[in-house]
Amino acid sequence: MTNEKHHIVPYSTYAIILAALLLFTFLSVAITGIELGEFTVAGALLLATIKSYLVLTYFMHLKFDKAYIRIMVGFVFLVFLAVIIITFLDYYFR
């Protein structure tokens, strides 16, 4: 725990992550501008997922946290994903 506390993330790491986040934002604005039909939603959500992964890993320090916190967060997101999938299985097959 003392090790983690003393792990200081350099400013440059955060700047690089911000650059990546901005890039993905502009990319998602660009791809939703083109008519891709069904793929527009999929593409925008995929980019949002990548962005949230970056925020969770670097800005929220999960990369530097103990494994059990990462597992906890991952588990909660998987449960949420499962709820979405089950909901849509219901609507698709009605």
Partner: protein
């Protein structure tokens, strides 16, 4: 929480962090439920959602996205600055974060203001008479979800304000940084929610 830190000698950074994450999970439940409602209604009213979404200003949405992402970086940097024992830099970075939060809210105010001028607000005459059920649903979800998000921005700014006070008075420092780290986690959560709100409401037409 801040009182416990203030009065109690007991300090457990890891315990605080777990508590913060547990709280974040409840927030995910709150917004997650709304996201599921949004997706189901979108699936059931595809054309109406398509039509209604064109009413939203993608440029303001994109600007607010950039603002929140930058503010997330500045608060993340402030934790590094605190650990490096650079109090001035920490306070400066937190100040920038607060300022960006305020700019976000001002943009939101003008954005909602334009909607109100066009007669688009929950229960308005224009909406109930001219818009379809699906469009009313879209705008209802838009106001509830962006409104709840803006409320989180306000709460986040209050928490950051408290942190600024405690950093400048020296109660929060490199060896006792849990409050700053947890405010950071909360602010990133707010950012995380916006990362999904932006494409769902503004981008997908």
């Amino acid at each position: 929480m801040s009182q416990a830190i203030h009065h109690d000698e007991h300090y457990d950074a890891e315990g605080s962090k777990i508590a913060m994450w547990l709280f974040i999970f409840t927030e995910l439940l709150l917004f997650g439920g709304l996201f599921i409602i949004y997706s189901v209604y979108r699936y059931l009213n595809q054309d109406a959602f398509h039509l209604a979404a064109e009413e939203l200003n993608t440029t303001i949405g994109a600007i607010n996205t950039v603002i929140l992402l930058v503010s997330s970086m500045t608060i993340a940097m402030s934790t590094s600055a605190l650990q490096k024992r650079q109090k001035g830099t920490t306070l400066l970075l937190l100040g920038i974060t607060l300022f960006l939060g305020l700019v976000f809210l001002v943009n939101k105010y003008f954005e909602w203001g334009v909607k109100f001028e066009h007669g688009i607000f929950p229960g308005s005459e224009h909406m109930t008479e001219n818009l379809s059920q699906g469009e009313i649903l879209f705008f209802g979800l838009y106001f509830v979800m962006t409104g709840l998000h803006a409320l989180h921005i306000i709460i986040g700014m209050i928490i950051i304000g408290v942190t600024v006070a405690k950093v400048s008075s020296g109660k929060v420092h490199a060896d006792r940084s849990a409050l700053l780290e947890n405010s950071g986690l909360y602010w990133h959560l707010v950012d995380l929610i916006w990362i999904f709100l932006f494409p769902l409401f503004y981008l997908i037409h």
